[in-house]
């Protein structure tokens, strides 16, 4: 640590800011799924990170298979992403059916433990069925020529991640605000019993929420693994924790909140490591979390929930 705030000029700041933005959009992709599930059944879905890891692996496997079959790169990318999304969504659906549905009316801590159990099972399943090594991750993402002049600030993968995150956020907000299923989701989130009384099939709504969340996690998995260039059975857990922090930071249950929280997390980490010390990258995230929660206990965009007796 050489003195607080080393002066490196505007260029350095811009670089850090953009890498923080890229990081933030990565967290956002996972945090969105987290916050959706939480918003509906108030469950910290620890297995979400694992679904993201499985998405990454599935895309790697199918991508490798199609590539060796000699398909063009764009088709490999498209097919592997679609298959990863389908399989992850199926995983999310199955997990909810097996591990969360039987516990829906039990104390919330039970479902949390069940989620941790699922997380352990999936991690070790992938460890045993695939490999314990770090595999390098071949990227099938395109390189954009128009980004060439800005190469030192932002690369194509980062650019794609940013665009995709923004698109998904808009899509989700629209889905929840304007569609029938979105209305059902909001109703379920507010009051499950009441929603059932007015004819909402809450089992279906919860299943759909898990499917959407897991599909997002899979997209995140493919993009993030392509960006990082490697994959391992354990990446889901760490990413899951970070995304959870981001979701809480922004106010858990709120979709713009999750994105905002993720960006704040990304910027804090990248500016903190750039200006103060790189040893404490994760600590900056946690310190900013504590500060914000002390000042605003429901997160930045969280609704202040009145507790009733």
């Amino acid at each position: 640590m050489k003195g607080l705030l080393k002066d490196h000029g505007m260029d350095y700041f811009l670089k850090l800011f953009l890498s923080g933005t890229a990081k933030g959009s990565i967290y956002a992709l996972i945090a969105l799924g987290y916050t959706m599930v939480y918003g509906i059944i108030q469950l910290i879905n620890f297995a979400h990170g694992e679904v993201y890891m499985i998405g990454g692996f599935t895309a790697l496997i199918f991508g490798g298979f199609f590539y060796t079959m000699g398909m063009p790169v764009w088709m490999v990318l498209l097919l592997s992403v679609i298959l990863a999304v389908l399989f992850s969504a199926a995983f999310g659906f199955t997990i909810e059916r097996i591990a969360y549905r039987p516990l829906r009316n039990k104390p919330r801590l039970s479902a949390l433990i069940s989620a941790i159990g699922i997380s352990m099972i999936l991690q070790n399943f992938v460890l045993l069925a695939q490999t314990e090594k770090y595999l390098s991750y071949p990227s099938y993402l395109p390189e954009f020529a128009f980004l060439q002049p800005f190469r030192q600030y932002i690369n194509s993968t980062q650019f794609i991640i940013l665009i995709v995150t923004a698109a998904i956020m808009v899509f989700l907000t629209a889905l929840i605000k304007f569609t029938r299923i979105g209305k059902a989701m909001r109703a379920t989130a507010q009051d499950k019993d009441m929603a059932q009384l007015v004819g909402v099939n809450i089992n279906q709504v919860i299943s759909i929420t898990f499917i959407i969340g897991s599909a997002l996690a899979a997209i995140g998995g493919v993009l993030i693994c392509s960006y990082m260039g490697q994959i391992n059975y354990y990446i889901g857990f760490v990413a899951g924790i970070k995304a959870f922090v981001a979701a809480v930071l922004g106010g858990i249950g709120s979709i713009p909140g999750a994105v905002l929280g993720s960006f704040i997390l990304g910027w804090t980490e990248s500016l903190g490591t750039g200006y103060i010390s790189s040893d404490y990258e994760d600590a900056f995230a946690f310190i900013i979390l504590i500060l914000i929660l002390v000042l605003k206990p429901d997160g930045i965009l969280g609704k202040n929930q009145k507790q009733k007796v």
Binding site: F57, L60, I61, F62, T68, D279, D282, L289, V309
Partner: protein, 430 residues
């Protein structure tokens, strides 16, 4: 009629088998390896029948088990064998002399354990007992106070490092002054308790306004910050390599062989466990304990009754932290080596799992859960590869089929028994 139901269930199981065969296809059947930036896929077709058959059987059993679980509650109330057995056991233990005989047998077993089994098993038992102390401590926070703490390992670390740092910095003075370094253990035991308590109070300050999952995440953050500070302040704490050669506790100035030392620490930890159980039991029924339970049930109603929430939360965290600190000192003395890797988030989650599986808020539950979670993996070594997988499955099974935990807490209630014979009388009972 009956056969039709069974048939339709079998048909559903068949559907599930197909579903799982497809679901697990990419991860089980295809195996990927990346060589020179190219992903190569090999197929393992031999797994297909295995997945299909096992998921068929498992999904059928799962369905049956869920149905059985739903109707179990009614069955327990009625006149089943299980109920009779349970009732018999209960009346059996009402008998004072039988209770004492069982208890003394248990005590005899615990006391003679290090002599009956080898040093390996003694060490395993010490670790398990350390977890019992941790589980009991966390049980105050989560079980009684209802405050979900995901950073409990931090206090465990504070305890361990109190001893470790004391040894690192004061130890040389002790050696040059000719005092037995084993004394450091006895100094750090209360000191670690106090320092951990201070940390507990420090953590509870930002947490006072928070509830539920926000509280959980902030304790998680706290735990990780403590671990990172220990890991990164290399000059002070030894960084990732930690502190080694920590002395064993003083025993009348004798130099103990590793085996004897293990036995000695075993007895120390047994005494500490008993002390913890005693204290936690006393707290549970005290004014503070009842206030904590009220806080768990409803914070606002609790405030309306004139209970000071701030004070209660402080007490909860402080008490929980105290026991973790003590457990940390014992850990350092047992392993003689500590590093930040022993205090990760997983550790906190494990302790939490122990109390939830045992039964949140229940003292026998916390003890049972901690022993189960620490001993089972130890004796499943032959299955080491599949250990964590089995662990996860077992956890989900317990939580779904016995969501109150294995030894749930029975709230104290006063019952009125009708007089049937001369020595039965109306009175208070659990």
């Amino acid at each position: 009629m009956k056969t039709r139901i069974v048939l339709s269930e079998l048909f559903k199981a068949l559907g599930n088998a197909v579903w799982f065969s497809v679901l697990l296809f990419p991860l089980m059947i295809m195996k990927v390896n990346v060589v020179g930036g190219k992903a190569l896929v090999t197929f393992r077709w031999q797994f297909v029948p295995f997945i299909f058959v096992s998921s068929f059987i498992l999904s059928y059993l799962w369905k049956r088990a869920l149905v059985w679980n739903e109707h179990r509650q009614d069955k327990i109330a009625s006149d089943t064998l299980y109920y009779k057995f349970k009732k018999n056991v209960q009346t059996y233990f009402k008998n004072q002399s039988i209770k004492y005989v069982t208890l003394s047998l248990l005590v005899a077993f615990v006391v003679s354990f290090p002599f009956l089994f080898g040093m390996y098993h003694t060490n395993v038992m010490i670790t398990a007992f350390i977890y019992v102390i941790l589980a009991l401590g966390l049980n105050i926070v989560v079980g009684l106070g209802g405050l979900l703490n995901l950073g409990y390992a931090a206090f465990f670390a504070v305890g361990s490092y109190t001893y470790g740092l004391l040894w690192k910095y004061i130890g040389p003075n002790f050696i040059s002054a000719g005092i037995d370094t084993g004394w450091l253990f006895w100094i750090s035991l209360p000191l670690a308790g106090i320092i951990s308590t201070i940390f507990g109070v420090l953590l509870s300050l930002p947490v006072l306004r928070l509830r539920g999952d926000y509280l959980a995440i902030i304790t998680l953050a706290f735990g990780e910050i403590v671990r990172m500070v220990l890991q990164n302040s290399g000059q002070i704490t030894g960084g990732a390599t930690g502190i080694s050669l920590i002395p064993r506790p003083w025993f009348f100035g004798m130099k103990l062989a590793p085996k004897q030392a293990a036995v000695y620490i075993y007895y120390i930890v047994v005494v500490l466990v008993l002390l913890t159980i005693f204290v936690v039991r006393r707290i549970e029924d005290s004014r503070v304990g009842r206030a904590l339970e009220a806080m768990r049930e409803d914070e606002i109603a609790c405030q309306a009754m004139g209970i000071d929430l701030v004070k209660n939360k402080l007490i909860t965290f402080a008490l929980g932290a105290f026991f973790a600190g003590i457990a940390g000192v014992v850990l350092a003395a047992q392993t003689t080596y500590i590093n930040p890797d022993s205090f990760t988030l997983w550790e906190s989650i494990m302790i939490l799992m122990a109390i939830v599986i045992g039964g949140t808020g229940s003292i026998p539950g916390a003890i049972g859960g901690a022993l189960l979670l620490k001993l089972l993996p130890e004796y499943f070594r032959p299955l080491a590869q599949y250990r964590m997988l089995i662990y996860g499955v077992a956890m989900i099974l317990v939580i779904i089929f016995k969501s109150d935990g294995l030894l749930p807490r029975h709230r104290k209630r006063y019952t009125f028994e009708e007089k049937t014979n001369s020595n039965a009388s109306a009175g208070a009972g659990k």
